[in-house]
Amino acid sequence: MTGDRGEPILRFEHVSLFFDEQPALDDVSFALFPGASCVILGAAGSGKTVLLKTAIGLVKPDRGHVWLFGRDITAIPESELVDLRSRVGILFQEGGLFDSLTIEENVAYPLLNQRALRCPRDQVRARVEAALARVELEHTLEKYPSELSGGMRRRVGIARANVTEPPLVLYDSPTAGLDPITAHTIMTLILKERDTKNTTTVIVTHRYQDGHLLANFRYNPATNRIEPLAHDGRHAASDTKFLVMREGRLVFEGSQAELEASADPYVQKFVKPLRN
């Protein structure tokens, strides 16, 4: 599933990163094409979060190159990186909301601060309201993050990641620590953002269900629900790539069918819960 769609939107080439001589990323290479979805599975501490932070240059790799929108971000200064990041939305693991700012100020933050976007001031309010309405939190504008529940904070994070309508959105463990119902709501919202805006979506998770949803379901704006892509087979011919990380290394890369067929016991551990 490569080649014919031109430049990859994100490409890692032999990326290694060390924390105190411990490898956090160990020779990671992959490419992601526009419009595709990518699920990164892995246990806690396997380097998933570091991978996302490396992807937008928050962390500089010790070795290798990262290309974002066709630019080698390991070789450009921070000021240019800032402009490049305005085309990427990111949801942090803990939400990463500014707890001394209101929800409205939080969601408006990228619009007001990313100068490359050149968002006119009088449009900010409307765009913030629209982004919050998409995650069904339009009534929380004046509240502070601490006044919201964990699931609501995650939704605000999704709104903030998507308010600038970036072509690439990265979600770091969007469902971690949430009950199954809230987790499903979050995944619905992620599919909604992906399918209404046609964004390239990367999600880091330890739950195989999340990847399964991303690969086999799509958002239907008519019903405001998600529905299976294909009714006949188990796997739709979707554009979802699965990556599995283990101790900083990429141990698997491929489609969902290949993932389920994998004989690697570590990879199997992630797939099993859904099968049984």
Partner: protein, 252 residues
């Protein structure tokens, strides 16, 4: 031995890297004037009561302790001179800086530290702002403006404290002599070092506070540790620097 020396030297290097980045960004846009104003309010207006209180008692104590020594030489009329020179040259800048270090270096370290451990610093960078521009620069500029002003206030309140002890309480000298002594004994050298010191301290306090905040790791405990370190290091530097700046001005 080498392993023992490595962390502090690395920290020193990182501190100077942060200092360099902050100064490079000093005149570079965006300036976040709102943040500077807010910080000036927190650091300046917020510290005013405690700075005045300590300033008053510093001057009062000085007059009180000097009264005995001056009595021995029959030079109690000199009390205004002693109070004003010590305050302007040393006590005013150092005491004010220590108070601000305790209040605001800790505040900066804990605020930035909390933001660091909850990924807000990363979020800030991901959403198009440079934490050095948005967080460090406003704190540095605000402290550098406000600390000299606070020091001037502390100096004057301290002289007033000295007067309260010298004139109404102990009758060491007359009011007019106290004030004329206090006024005439100050030279440009004293004023210069009394204003340069708080300016230098302000830079150190703000940068140390922000530095320890930004390199916080390891959750809530890390924030506490960063706060403690910031206050201790900033205070120690105040004492070290006051000696060297003083030495420079004495040798002039």
């Amino acid at each position: 031995m080498l392993d023992l020396l490595k962390p502090p030297i690395l920290a020193f290097q990182e501190f100077f890297l942060l200092t360099g980045r902050t100064f490079r960004n000093l005149f570079r846009k965006p300036h976040y004037v709102d943040d500077i104003t807010i910080q000036m309010d927190i650091i300046g207006v917020g510290s005013l009561p405690i700075v005045m209180l300590t300033g008053f008692f510093a001057g009062a104590v000085m007059a009180l302790q000097m009264s005995r020594a001056l009595n021995q030489y029959g030079a109690t009329d000199q009390v205004g001179q002693i109070v004003s020179i010590t305050l302007a040259r040393e006590m005013g800048p150092v005491l004010t800086a220590l108070l601000v270090a305790g209040r605001n270096a800790s505040g900066m370290a804990s605020e930035l530290g909390s933001m660091k451990v909850t990924e807000q610093i990363d979020a800030m960078r991901a959403l198009g702002t440079d934490p050095v521009q948005k967080l460090v620069k406003p704190r540095l500029v605000a402290t550098a403006i406000v600390l000299p002003l606070l020091t001037i206030i502390a100096d004057f309140v301290g002289m007033f404290g000295g007067w309260v002890v010298a004139c109404p309480m102990l009758n060491l000298t007359t009011s007019s002599q106290y004030w004329s002594m206090a006024w005439r004994s100050l030279e440009y050298n004293d004023i210069a070092q009394g204003l340069i010191k708080p300016f230098v301290f302000a830079i150190v306090i703000a940068l140390v506070g922000c530095f320890y905040g930004l390199r916080t790791t390891g959750g809530t405990q890390g924030v506490g540790l960063a706060t403690t370190k910031a206050v201790v290091v900033a205070s120690v530097w105040v004492f070290v620097l006051t000696f060297f700046i003083g030495k420079f001005f004495v040798s002039l």
